[in-house]
């Protein structure tokens, strides 16, 4: 097996397994509590408003917004790790059809693997730190995946020319 294929298939399987493991941990220990808290905070926001206790209502709605921010990113990270892992395995199987130089193919495989690792990681890190650092990691990760996919699509197309 060539080095890029090995990296994509083994890396993809590892990433998908990691994503599933994180998903099981998340579903058992975090998701239900997060969703209950989110629904409860929204209902509390409206009920306190009905009682004309506006500061408490606003605090509950801010809490709901914060929980929603975290929930969206946790589910995104889980889904993207598994999805990208599966994509790496599938591309790995077909990677010998990428009609580019050996070194270019290896660089493309590296970009795809590290992009798939970093993009969901950056998204997940945003739940702990809302500064620009995690966003930068996510942007770099998605840029690497896009570059890798552009090169792979070009390589598949070159084989047809």
């Amino acid at each position: 097996m060539t080095a890029p294929r090995k990296l994509l298939i083994i890396g993809g399987l590892a990433l998908a397994t990691w994503g599933m493991g994180y998903g099981i941990y998340y579903a058992v220990f975090v998701e239900h509590q997060t969703l209950d808290g989110l629904g409860g905070a929204l209902a509390t926001g409206f009920m306190r408003a009905a009682e004309r206790r506006m500061p408490e209502s606003q605090a509950a709605l801010s809490d709901a917004a914060s929980r929603s921010f975290v929930y969206v990113r946790q589910v995104d990270a889980h889904g993207h790790w598994i999805g990208l892992g599966l994509l790496l395995v599938i591309l790995g199987i077909a990677f010998d059809r990428v009609a580019l130089r050996k070194r270019t193919r290896f660089l493309l495989a590296l970009a795809l693997f590290f992009g798939s690792l970093l993009f969901p990681l950056g998204v997940l890190l945003e739940t702990w730190n809302r500064g620009s650092g995690p966003q930068a990691i996510a942007v770099v990760g998605s840029a690497l995946v896009i570059i890798g996919l552009c090169g792979t699509a070009w390589g598949f197309a070159c084989a047809d020319l």
Binding site: M1, L13, T17, G39, L42, A43, G45, F46, M47, R48, A49, A50, E51, R52, M54, S57, Q58, L61, S62, A64, A65, S68, F69, V72, G83, L86, L87, V89, I90, L91, I93, A94, R97, A138, S142, V145, I146, L149, C150, T152, A153, F156, A157, A159, D160
Partner: protein, 379 residues
């Protein structure tokens, strides 16, 4: 001389070699046919869900949010709380349908991937067959269980908070997980075995060496669809995600503050805007995920083109139709926000094109099995 060499020199032995790789009730045949059937069932469920359930359900959620806002204005916290309980029920109804649809399709993809990897899995044929059956049983049980959660609830359940539908869904998930772990172990054994014997890992598999027009166009087209999905996702994250989250929070505040201040006209406007915002988020996420999933589907079916026993002209037509539908559905889903039902109808047509193309490929694979079985019987 090994089997592939024989196949080159003698066409009838090529058919026999194919018959051995894709024998009746072989794990690969079960996974290919079962996988495509799962994807088709998931897509049909998705089309029915989009046409008949999604929009009415969204309307009911909007109405419940409106009644919560009215209850705030009337100073009635109990009714406001009850409205949110209703919203929770509606969201569960929606969530379980989406989950059943998404899991069926994802398990179908996984089945096709496992079918591709079968020659590398180092287990006896009997054990591989058992694992394929276990996987397909779990992959069917989980979505059916999830679909029924909303209807069965806690009826006759021995547990306090988990109903029978959830129990069967979890059992299905456990079957799939067990089958996948076992396949992974078999794969590791197979790769190690081939490395120690210094034999090429995928040389003899016709599925990985096919260079037909339909296979190449599906492979390139699928990669482009995934790229398109990634570009759209990146654009959405950069341009709209954070803005929508802020707007979401602002609208909820506007509903409560204005309703409490008896300014119902503004509060109701905020409810309407909130519905529009949720719609905008939903179409963007749906377009992003569908274009990537269809890209993965195109790449996966590209590998199975040697099994599609149809005239070359028809193979090309179905490949192009699958790609056209895969592009049309997400594109018109995005346009739904501006064009309304017209775009929704066109998106459904895109989905129908993909379903028809996939069904035609399944028929082609079915015909291929007939050819192989007849050749096997004659020999």
């Amino acid at each position: 001389m090994n089997a592939p060499d024989n196949a080159i020199n003698d066409p009838s032995s090529a058919v026999l070699q194919q018959a051995a790789d894709f024998a009746p009730l072989s794990p690969r045949r079960m996974l290919v046919i079962g996988g495509i059937a799962l994807i088709l069932a998931g897509m049909i469920l998705g089309d029915i869900f989009a046409a008949f359930i999604l929009h009415p359900n969204a309307g009911r959620i909007g109405a419940a949010l409106g009644s919560a806002t009215q209850a705030v204005a009337a100073g009635d916290p109990q009714t406001a709380g009850a409205a949110f309980a209703k919203i929770g029920g509606r969201l569960e109804n929606r969530g379980t349908k989406v989950d059943a649809h998404a899991h069926m399709i994802s398990f179908g993809y996984l089945a096709l991937l496992l079918a591709l990897l079968q020659p590398l899995v180092a287990f006896t044929e009997q054990r591989k067959k058992f694992l394929a059956q276990l996987f397909l049983l779990g992959a069917t049980l989980l979505p059916i269980g999830v679909f029924l959660i909303h209807y069965v609830g806690l009826k006759w359940s021995p547990l306090e908070s988990i109903g029978w539908a959830s129990i069967f869904a979890d059992l299905g998930g456990a079957f799939v997980l067990l089958a996948c772990l076992a396949e992974l172990f078999g794969l590791w054994r197979g790769v190690r075995l081939r490395v120690s014997q210094r034999s090429p890992i995928t040389a003899a598999d016709e599925l990985l060496t096919d260079r037909s027009w339909s296979s190449r166009v599906l492979l390139s087209g699928g990669t482009l669809l995934i790229l398109l999905g990634f570009l759209h996702g990146s654009y959405y994250a950069a341009a709209s995600l954070y803005r929508n989250e802020t707007r979401d929070s602002e609208l909820l505040t506007a509903m409560t503050v204005n309703a409490a201040g008896k300014n119902l006209a503004v509060a109701n406007l905020a409810v309407l805007d909130y519905g529009q915002l949720q719609g905008a988020k939903a179409v963007n996420i749906a377009a992003h995920s569908h274009v990537i999933e269809f890209g993965i589907l195109a790449i996966l079916v590209a590998f199975f083109q040697p099994y599609v026993f149809l005239e070359e002209k028809w193979k090309k037509i179905w490949a192009v139709m699958l790609l056209a539908g895969s592009l049309a559905l997400p594109l018109f889903v995005l346009m739904e926000f501006r064009w309304g039902l017209l775009a929704g109808g066109l998106a459904d047509m895109g989905g129908l094109l993909v379903i028809c193309a996939l069904f035609a490929m399944l028929v082609g694979i079915w015909r291929h099995t007939g050819k192989l079985d007849a050749a096997g019987g004659n020999s």
